[in-house]
Symmetry: D2
Subunit: 352 residues, 4 copies
Amino acid sequence: MTTPTAQSPALGTDVPATMRASVLKRKGDMAMETLDVPRLEADQVLVQVAAVGVCGSDVHYYEHGRIGDYVVDHPLILGHELSGRIAAVGSEVDPARVGQRVAVEPQRPCRKCRQCKAGRYNLCPDIEFYATPPIDGAFAEYVTIQSDFAYDIPDNVSDEAAALIEPLSVGLWACERAQIKPGSRVLIAGAGPIGIIAAQAARAFGASEIYITDIAEDRLAFALEHGATHALNAITDSVEGLDVDAFIDASGAPQAVRSGIKAVGPAGRVILVGLGADDVELPVSFIQNREIWLSGVFRYTNTWPLAIQLIADGKVDLDILVTGKFTLAESEEALKAGKQAGQLKAVVYPGR
Amino acid sequence: MTTPTAQSPALGTDVPATMRASVLKRKGDMAMETLDVPRLEADQVLVQVAAVGVCGSDVHYYEHGRIGDYVVDHPLILGHELSGRIAAVGSEVDPARVGQRVAVEPQRPCRKCRQCKAGRYNLCPDIEFYATPPIDGAFAEYVTIQSDFAYDIPDNVSDEAAALIEPLSVGLWACERAQIKPGSRVLIAGAGPIGIIAAQAARAFGASEIYITDIAEDRLAFALEHGATHALNAITDSVEGLDVDAFIDASGAPQAVRSGIKAVGPAGRVILVGLGADDVELPVSFIQNREIWLSGVFRYTNTWPLAIQLIADGKVDLDILVTGKFTLAESEEALKAGKQAGQLKAVVYPGR
Amino acid sequence: MTTPTAQSPALGTDVPATMRASVLKRKGDMAMETLDVPRLEADQVLVQVAAVGVCGSDVHYYEHGRIGDYVVDHPLILGHELSGRIAAVGSEVDPARVGQRVAVEPQRPCRKCRQCKAGRYNLCPDIEFYATPPIDGAFAEYVTIQSDFAYDIPDNVSDEAAALIEPLSVGLWACERAQIKPGSRVLIAGAGPIGIIAAQAARAFGASEIYITDIAEDRLAFALEHGATHALNAITDSVEGLDVDAFIDASGAPQAVRSGIKAVGPAGRVILVGLGADDVELPVSFIQNREIWLSGVFRYTNTWPLAIQLIADGKVDLDILVTGKFTLAESEEALKAGKQAGQLKAVVYPGR
Amino acid sequence: MTTPTAQSPALGTDVPATMRASVLKRKGDMAMETLDVPRLEADQVLVQVAAVGVCGSDVHYYEHGRIGDYVVDHPLILGHELSGRIAAVGSEVDPARVGQRVAVEPQRPCRKCRQCKAGRYNLCPDIEFYATPPIDGAFAEYVTIQSDFAYDIPDNVSDEAAALIEPLSVGLWACERAQIKPGSRVLIAGAGPIGIIAAQAARAFGASEIYITDIAEDRLAFALEHGATHALNAITDSVEGLDVDAFIDASGAPQAVRSGIKAVGPAGRVILVGLGADDVELPVSFIQNREIWLSGVFRYTNTWPLAIQLIADGKVDLDILVTGKFTLAESEEALKAGKQAGQLKAVVYPGR
C-alpha cells in the first residue's frame, strides 16, 4: 500500500522482509495479513511499533467506512497514535538513531507550501496523515516516518504514554490556541479521553480553575482526580455566567457547544475540538457582543517536544487513561472496546 | 434625562440654558422639545453638535422601540455619529479647548474594570453609550462627553466626515481584528455604508484584493469606485474557493455569513460586523479543518486618531457616503431616508 | 505632602486624625514624625498599613537622595511594597470594603492617555508612584490608594506575602514579556530577591529548565530550593551556548547582561529587570543574527490578581524571602539590613 | 563549486554544459571563468540569470575577503539579488515552469529543524545562502534554486526590480517586525538603498509619518521623493523627542542607533538592519523605562509574494534605485561603483 517514490537501502538491524498487519478491508471487516515491510525513503526511519492507541476516528472508519470526504475504498491500516523503536534508517539519517525509542508524529507535510513555510504545517493542503485514506497507519509491526517526526523519548515515558502523545498533542494545541496561561479559568465540555487530556494540558499551562462537564458521573469523578478542579453535570448544572477565559469543547455535542460559548467572558476564546455535525447553530450575537474568538484545532503543530517534557516531568499522566490492552490480532476487539462503560483508551501492541 | 453625578461651572462661551432636541418619545413617535443644556462634569466638554449621521440602530429604535434587551421605556435622544465644536469645558479640562472642532467618540467606559485596564474599554460591562437607553444621544444642539473622547479635527476634515468617523471606526476595528495587512485578500459581504467603509479601511490597511458582494448592482458599482477591487453579485456569483485571508460580514444575512466563511483560506479570519439573528447556523467543521478564527466587533477601541489621520491624508473618503441632509426638525425624515433606493447615509444638522 | 485635589468624608471606622510615619528628610536622614492622616478622594480607600517590604530603590533614595531625575528635595515617605486593611472608603466606593485585607498596587495612572487606554498604564507619562518624589509611600500607619488598586486577599496569604506581591509583579511581568510558557528554558542572572522571585514566576509559567547565576554560593543554593532547576556560578561557569528561550537579567551587572544575551537561542527574548548603568555595551550583531527581542520591564500592569492566585494556590512562596522584621521606628535599620550577608528581604510593620 | 548531493536529468531547453561566471578568487581579485552549469537536484530549477544587484556584503567580501566568521578561502561567486528565467527543472518540478520569469529568494533552509518548522526558516542553523562561503551566488549565467524559492513575476515587473526584491525583502521584514501599521510614525536612519527601500516599505504598511536621517543632503532629497515624508540632517537636526512608534536603523552607525532609540516612544520598536560593530553601547535604561522592544533582522521569511504584489501594484518603485548597469565582465567595476557619489545601486547583467 505504501508506495515510496524513492528507495534506499535501509541501514538497520535484521529487519525482516514481511510483517503482520491488521487491515481494514472494508467497512466492518478487519483481517490479519502478511505484507511487505514498507521501504524507507532517504529521510525516513523505520519504526518497529510498540504501542498504538485507538482513536475515535479509527472506530469511525471501521464502523462507517468513511469520514467526510475520506473513503476507505482500498484496504487500509488504521492507527495513528503510536510509539516504537527505530529499526532502520534511510540514507540521509544518522545511523546512530537505530535502536532509539520514539514517539511518532503521524503526519507528513510537504514543507514547501505557504502554510508549511509559515509554521502551520498542519494546514498543509498536501499533507499525508496516518490512517487517513489512502495513507496507512500503525496497526502493523513496522511503519515509516520522516526522521524529524520520530522523537526520542526518555526511559521514564512508557510505550503507552509515548503513543498517547498524539491525543495529548490535540489537548496542548487546543490550550495554546485558547491562550491558556497562569491564572486562566477554563471550561471543558466532555470528560472522555480528549476532555481529560485537555484538563491536564490546561493545568500544565497554569490554569487555576478547570471546569469540566459530562453526563456520566463516573467520568466526571475520574476527571476531578486527573486535572479538573470542578465537575459539572451537563444535564443538571448550568455553566452560563461562569465567564471563563476559555472554553474547549471535547464533546462534539451541539448543545454543549452552545451553552459552553455562553459561559465565556468578554474577549474570551472558544476552541472546538470535538467533531460533530458539519453545521451547528451558534449564538452569534453573543460572540459579537463579547468579541469572543472562536476556532477549532486541526491536529497540531510542533507539540511533541513539549508533550514529552510534560510527561517526563510528571506534569501530565497519560498511563491512567489506558483501560484496555490488546494484541495485534485483537485489533477488532480493541476498536469495539471504547463503546463499553468505564472504558477510556484501548491500546494495541503489534509486537504481541 | 442626562443626570450628571457632579456639577461644575462650565468654562465656555455664551452657552444658553436650554436647547432644542429631537426626542424619541416612544416607538415611532419623534418630537421636537426644549430641554436644559446638559451640565458638565469636571472631566467633560460640552459640544455644540454640527452634524449627526443616522445609523441603522437609530432606525431600529425608532421602528421597534428596542434592540435586544435595550428598551426605550423613557424618552430618548437618538444619534451617536457626531461632530461639533467645543462650547464649554469642565473644571479639569484645559479652557483652551473651547472653540475646537471635534469628532466625538460616543462612549463612556468606567476606566477601572478588568476590561478597561486591559485596553479593551469597549467591552467594559459598565460602559455608557450614546443613544442606548437610558443614555441620550446627539439629535440635539448640545451634548457632553469626556474630554479625551472629543478629538480635534483638522480643517480639511468636513463636519460630515468627522461625524462618520463613528462608522469608520467600526470598519477600522474590523480590519484590525481581521489582521488585514499589506497584500491581504479580503471578502466583504454587503455594500451598504459599513461595507463600503470596510472596503476603504481594508484598502488603507494595504489589502491588495478586496471583493465585495451585494444583491444591488448600483451598490456594487458604487463600492467598486470607492474601495473594492472586485464586485460579486451575491445571488449569481459564488465566493467559494476564493481562499481569502479575511472575510468581513457587513450584511447580517445568515446565508452571506455561511458562504463567506467558506471563502476563507486556512488560518484565515472571519469578522462578523452585521447584526442579524441571535443564532445562526455556521459551517463548524469547515472552521475547524482550516483553523479559521471567527469573531465579531462590538463598537471599537482607540480608533479615532487613526480615522482622523486617514481622512486628513485622503486615504479614506467619507463625504461620498452622504446622500441626504436634514435639519434637526426633520430628524424623523432622516430616520426614514435610509429605506429609499440609492440612499446610503442621512446626516442631521442640529444647528440648522 | 499628599494633596488630594478633592475631598470627601471618609466612610470608615474610627480613623484617627494623625498618624506616625517614618520620613526621609534628606539623603541619609530618617525621622519619625506625626502627620495628618491623608484625606480620601472619592474613588480611594484608606489603608491601615500592615507590612511594607524594603526595596533596593528605597535604599537608593536613602543613600543617594535621588534616582536619576527623581530627587528628594522635600521630605518623602519611602516604601511601595505593602499590604494592610481598609480603614475607610471614599464617597464612590462600596462601604462594604471597610475591614478587608488588601494588597496595594502602589501606582495611580491617569486612565486617559494613549498608554492607559491601550492597556499599558504602567507607561502613563502622568503616573504617580509611591515613594517616588513627590509622591509619598508606605512607611506610615495609613496610605490612600484608588479602590481598584487595593486587591482583596484571602486568609491564607500572609501580610508579608501580600506586601511582596509588588516585587512578585515585577517577576510576573518579566515572565509575561519574556513569553515564558510550558517547556520554556530560561536563564536568570542574579539570585537576589528579584532573581528568586523571577525563578518562581518562571516555574509558575511552566518553564521546564530554570538556570540561575550569581557569585554568592549561598544565594544559589537558596535559589535551587525555591524555583531554579540549575545554578551556575557567574564567575566560574559559562552560560554561552545554553540557547535558552529567554534570559531575564535581575542583576543589573553589564557583564551578566552581555553574557546572558549570548546564552539566548534564535528568536529568543531578553528582559532586563535589573537597574545598572544608563548605557551598556551590548552584543548587537549577535542580537541581529538571531533576531532576539530585547526589552525591559517598567513596573507592571494588571498583575495583582494573578499574583494573589499563585500565592493562594501555593505555586509561589514569598514568605521564604523575609529575613528581617522591623517596627516603624526601626525603618532606618530596615533600610540598612539588605547590605548584610544572608539577608534577602526586610519587612517593616507600621502597626508595631 | 556547487556540489549537488543528488542529480537528475534537467528537463529544459537547450541548456549548455558550461557557462561564464565572474569569480572572486581571493580578496580583491575577480576573474571571468568558464564553469560547468550547476546540475539540478530533483526539487530545483535552473535559472538563467537576467539581472543581479550589487549589495554591500558583496563589496565587503571583495574588499576584505571575509564577513565575520565567513571567510573566502576558496573561489566564490558573489551576488544574491537576482532575477532570471527558468531554463530547466528538476525531476519533481512541473515542466511547465520552464520559460517563466522569476525572482529568486537566494536561500536554502533545511525545512526540518525547530526554526524551519516554526515558520522562521531564516534562522535555520543549517541554511545555505547565496554568495556566502562556501555557497556560490549569481554573478554567473546560470544558478540553481529550490523551485518554491523561485517566484513567478508579472510582465510589469522589470528584471531589475525583480532582482531588487531581495533588498526590498529586508525592508518589508523590518517593517513587519517593527509592526508598522496604518498611522504609524516611523524614523529611519540612513538614506542609502536600504533606507529608501525601508521608507517605501513603511509607506506601503500605512505609516503616516516617515522621518529619514542622513548626512548627505542629496540622499535626503532623493528619499523625500521616494517614500519619506520628512528628512532630517543627522548632524544638525535632533530626533530626540519625536516619540515615534518605530525606529529602523539602516545606517549601522552607533551614534545613529543611539540617538534613534531615544526618538522612540513608550512601547515602541527598534529594528536594527544596518551592520556595524559587533558591540554597541546602547541606552539601556531608556529602553527599560519605555519598555521598548529592540531586535534586528536576519534576512527575511516569506516576503517575496508580498514584494511582487507591491511592485506590480506600483506601491513600491525599485527601478529608481538603479544608478549603474554593467556586463558580467564588468562585475569588478560594479562592485566599485557604490563608493562613488550619487550611486545607489549597481546592477550586473550576466546575459550581456
